[in-house]
């Protein structure tokens, strides 16, 4: 199927556009582990696999690679492989993974924080801890899903760099600079990337009904804007069918308002 030749589904809502944007982050990834943390990233990876990226590998979030479709929330799966945490680490250190995950803070170079808000010795808010963020961002592609684009999340600086951005990576080895890659930041307003000469954040497309001012106002730092700034595309008819099949309980509409 081709996104370019199919017609857009007229009934698509903001959450459906976001699902496609999350899926698009995995386009061209081929036979690697497409890992989604949370509903929209998971839907994105599974949608990419079900449509334009059939060789992508997705997991059930426990310890198994699954063949075919696995709807969000379903456990009725066809196992195609075993991926316990030790093999997750081996796979990610080997670079055969692209994860899309959340962030409580992200700055203009893509440094991210899921660990704590406020000083590390006594946080104002203790969050998850760094988890695998440092190892993920230095070893393989990491994209982000931010459900509420706001100045609080899109911050001047992060309180704890659980994931390293382009400025931190630039101070490390040539190997790191060659392998560090943050392909996309998808939010409820827009799709962003770091495809600027200085690897600072750039608006790539706006979701239907969102203005560039809306995005600037919800961001604490200066954003570059793509010369060919476009509207984030709606799902094709085939993609819409796949979205409904993969998210039968419509959890996406609870996560993203219109």
């Amino acid at each position: 199927m081709s996104a370019e030749t199919s017609t857009s589904a007229p009934s698509s809502r903001r959450a459906d556009v976001v699902a496609v944007a999350c899926a698009e982050a995995f386009r061209g990834n081929g036979e690697i582990f497409g890992s989604g943390m949370g509903t929209m990233p998971m839907l994105g990876a599974r949608l990419a696999k079900a449509t334009f990226e059939p060789n992508l590998m997705v997991s059930d979030g426990v310890a198994f690679f699954v063949d075919g479709d696995l709807p969000i929330g379903s456990t009725d799966k066809t196992v195609e492989g075993w991926i316990p945490f030790r093999q997750v680490f081996d796979t990610l250190w080997g670079g055969r993974r692209h994860v899309m995950m959340g962030a409580s803070q992200i700055d203009r170079f893509g440094n991210t924080n899921i660990a704590n808000i406020g000083p590390h010795n006594q946080p104002k808010a203790q969050l998850l801890g760094v988890r695998g963020g440092p190892g993920n961002t230095i070893n393989h592609a990491v994209s982000f899903w931010i459900p509420k684009h706001s100045t609080r999340v899109f911050a001047e600086s992060v309180d704890m760099a659980s994931g390293i951005g382009y400025d931190r990576a630039a101070k490390l080895s040539g190997w790191v600079k060659a392998n560090h890659h943050l392909p996309r930041v998808v939010t409820n307003l827009a799709v962003l990337d770091f495809e600027t000469p200085t690897n600072t954040m750039r608006v790539r497309s706006l979701h239907p009904g969102v203005s560039i001012d809306d995005v600037h106002q919800a961001t604490s730092f200066e954003l570059a804007v793509a010369d060919d700034l476009s509207e984030s595309r709606a799902p094709t008819d085939d993609e819409m069918v796949a979205i409904e099949r993969l998210d039968p309980n419509e959890l996406r509409y609870r996560e993203v308002a219109d």
Binding site: V62, A63, F64, W82, P84, F85, R86, F89, L92, W93, N113, A115, N116, H120, N121, Q122, P123, K124, A125, Q126, L127, L128, G129, V130, R131, G132, G133, P134, G135, T137, I138, N139, V158, M160, A161, S162, G163, I164, R168, A169, K171, L172, S173, G174, W175, V176
Partner: protein, 294 residues
């Protein structure tokens, strides 16, 4: 343990949770197996709560084990990659302890760094190199971490994760024989073999759902599940429902309603005292009885 010096059989290591913990001392470094709120050796953690040992250095992929030990004030130093209840992302006791700065020392690692530290400890190397952690907040908050340069042509600077050696550890398995040949039957062993291997012989405690005869070890799983052998274990503790309220597949799933009750109580001091009175003020048998009566 067998006192029969003429016996030709391997040592029987079966003991109770309280007997295991009675061997421990304040100030020890203790590793705890499992992952988040999954297959945690909770009966042994509860035995620590019944004891008076304190000032512990706790190393773990943390879940309610960390929460309970922090709430009881037993942790002097915490080494972790995360602390979570999985279905409830943030552990309330851990949050309170961090936000109140009541844990005197914390060492926060990337998940993979923690594995590497344990692996280095397991194979008696002083460190293992990795890129995970470089450039991140882990370096900012752990100024003692050192870099090492590759001695080969690439000459790359890497992070030298120091070996983690443990005085004692707790893991929970599905089955074991009386000697410590043990079996996981669920989807993931996590890093439980590494916790055992990174611990000085003497205090490697393995609880399990059921102690079975050695000849029955392959009744429920293939030989691939026998990842722990008796040279790695000093004490075997039969603890049915011993991982409760964390998951112990396929024997049982996480007790989500109990975990919610725990997390709700943990957010309020008065409710927490009621929870402690109801569940954590007696023996392991009393705990299991109180859980059954919910």
């Amino acid at each position: 343990m067998s006192a029969d010096s003429t016996s030709t059989a391997p040592t029987d290591k079966v003991m109770s949770p309280d007997e295991a913990v009675a061997n421990l001392r304040s100030g020890m470094t203790i590793g705890i197996g499992g992952w988040g709120s999954r297959r945690k050796p909770m009966s042994l953690v509860r035995a620590v709560l019944r004891s008076d040992i304190t000032d512990l250095t706790v190393v773990t992929y943390g879940g309610p084990d960390v929460g309970l030990l922090c709430a009881a004030g037993r942790v002097r130093k915490l080494v972790y990659g995360f602390v979570t209840l999985d279905s409830i992302p943030l552990e309330p006791h851990f949050r309170a302890a961090r936000q109140g700065a009541t844990i005197p020392e914390v060492v926060e690692y990337d998940e993979g760094m923690l594995q590497w530290g344990l692996y280095a400890g397991s194979v008696r190397l002083p460190f293992l190199p990795t890129r995970a952690g470089l450039g991140s907040g882990v370096m900012d908050t752990n100024p003692d971490l050192k870099l090492v340069q590759s001695p080969y042509d690439d000459a790359e600077e890497l992070l030298a994760v120091p070996a983690i050696r443990l005085d004692a550890c707790f893991v929970h398995m599905n089955r074991s024989d009386a000697r410590g040949n043990a079996q996981f039957l669920g989807p993931d062993i996590y890093f439980d073999d590494l916790w055992l291997n990174a611990t000085e012989p003497g205090h490697r405690y393995l609880s399990c759902e059921r102690v079975v005869p050695t000849s029955a070890l392959l009744d429920e799983g293939t030989f691939h599940t026998l990842r722990i052998n008796r040279s790695m274990v000093d004490g075997v503790i039969e603890s049915p429902n011993g991982a409760h309220f964390t998951s112990c597949e396929p024997d049982y799933d996480r007790d989500e309603s109990f975990q919610t009750e725990y997390a709700t109580a943990a957010r309020d001091p008065e409710q927490w005292q009621t929870f402690v009175d109801r569940y954590l003020s007696g023996s392991e048998a009393d705990y299991q009885e109180a859980v059954r009566e919910r």
